[in-house]
Amino acid sequence: METTKVEVLALGISREAVEGLSDALAEPYWMRDRRLRSWEVYERTPMPTTQDEEWRRTDLRKLKLDSFRLLTEAPGTYEPEGSSDHRSGFAQVVDGYVTQLELDPSVAEQGVIFSTLTEAAKNRPELVQKYLGTLVPDEYGKFAALANALSSGLFLYVPTNVQVELPIQVSHTITRGGAAVFPRTLIVGERFASATLIERYYSEDFEEDSLSVGTVEVFAGESTQLRYVNIQEWCRNVWHFLAERHSVGRDAQENNLNIALGAKQAKANVDAVLVGPGASCEMLGLFFPDRDQHYDHHTLQDHAAPNCFSDLLYKGVLRDTSRSVFSGLINVHPGAQKTDAYQTNRNLLLSDSARADSIPNLEIQANDVRCSHGASVGPIDTEQLFYLMARGLSRTEAERMIVDGFFEPLVNRIPLEGVRERLVEAIDRKMS
């Protein structure tokens, strides 16, 4: 598999960078045109402020967009992670460059495409044009427009009736401060297909701030089963933005899981649009900020068709002076009768200085629906803590046990053993 190598780019976030990127990727002209149009939208869209409802609790004034550069080259290839026998495919993206990309040949033979978006735009323009940017258009917001102008990334396509048994893994990393990356993943499952993609953002520590503006678009076609996992483990100097949107078709089943453990400030929008009758979507989220980390999750369960089911569970534990915001909307369109939609957000505060806001919302425009939402924010129960300590557990062990127990019903719902194990380890690290 050939990987694309961008020639020279050390530009700040600018129109020149958009053109330079497009040239370097040697993209078809229509891609370049799209980027430039997105850039214009980006330029004329004002930066969100805390006056905007969605950004009320997340302040961007310290974000200096002109301090970031798109990097000129990837610093060598990273060792692939994990063993390759438990996955169908793997891609590694370093500082915005796809440095490695592989797909099990037996999977490729069935017509599955796993390639860079650039390559897909060249080889399968009709597919890319049909889907790219339709779930996350420029109008979605300033950062979406920026990503549409500057993103590059991966395309996974699973044809009708093809089941990809083992997960495909994507690993993104940033190697230094001052970098700007715009990772993008487009996933299309046609009818009666199935696949799992596990995407991880990860970086070692660096001094200066970096920026990641990610975009994920997932299309589950009729009766297709897709599972998408996003694990955010950036170092503490990354400004993280993510627009992750899922379109779930007739009788399709989509499961998404978002795990937030890293970054400095993270703003993630996770939306599911149930577009076909009988669609079903499970949305799980787990977040654990500490020190001065700030996470803002905004979710949408958009019921646009009747007889759909969506079940959201986001759980967060907060330490130190960290901060989290969860705001979730269940939106039931007129005519989306027999909607079944649930939304739960629970937050556990490990310190008096941590703060979690939970803002559930319902907008129901149909009359025959079942919807519920629940939210809670609270400290560790001192009686539970005493009970465990009275059995010989130290305070730390007792807190860890309560936190593990708090996350357990969620972790239990993750059928991917590798993800589960990694998560348990990460929670342990956060607790120590």
């Binding site: 005493f386 300590m389 009275a390 059995r391 010989g392 557990l393 996350f407 357990e408």
Partner: protein
Amino acid sequence: MEKSLIIRDLHVNVEDKEILKGLSLELEKGKVHAVMGPNGSGKSTLSYALAGHPNYEVTGGEVLFNGQDVLEMGADERAQLGIFLAFQYPMSIPGVSMANFLRTAVNSVRKARDEKPMRVPDFRKMLNEKMSVLKMDRSFAGRYLNEGFSGGEKKRAEILQMAMLEPKVAILDETDSGLDIDALRIVSEGVNALRNPDTSVLIITHYQRILNYVKPDYVHVLVDGRIVTSGGPELALELEEKGYDWVREQFAVPA
């Protein structure tokens, strides 16, 4: 007789109100002591204070465990020394399985004694043995700690924890209340199984009933924050017959 726990003139406040007003009690090794008292007399306050609950403020007196002052110790240290409280109202901890919890607890206590963590197969074996004594189904081990347990199940689970932790001083706070006769018998067997020359058992109860199954060596009567009288097993029967008002009159405690 060798003492395990010595409580001298203990004063305990709860939310700035004095509940224990100079309570003294000495537990002997290998013996079963019963503390009987009416509701509100301070039985649970005594249990919590001994276990080290942070909201139970000790304002005077001392508690020595094998000569060591325990009042400065946290609840975890006390448990590690071998002080165990079977709670009157055990907490449920969602998401934490009984087995996982017990293994952590057992190993915490072992660690404090400089012992190696228990090997998983050894732990399993021990757990299964103790559960069968208490007639608990094996599935119990996989259930979340006290979550959705019936009253009787919770009490049995407390005794199971006690059996696993093999304490030196076991305090049972109204473990008998709310148990039907079969459950009471099973729980009592669990307590009797723990009896050994090295362990003191303190059964705190409102009723004499459990003492038919776990024979006490000593009975103490707690009224209004003090031990007002002590005696042999016959005292429990007398109390059952004459009621707590009789004690109040006898010992001139204002009701």
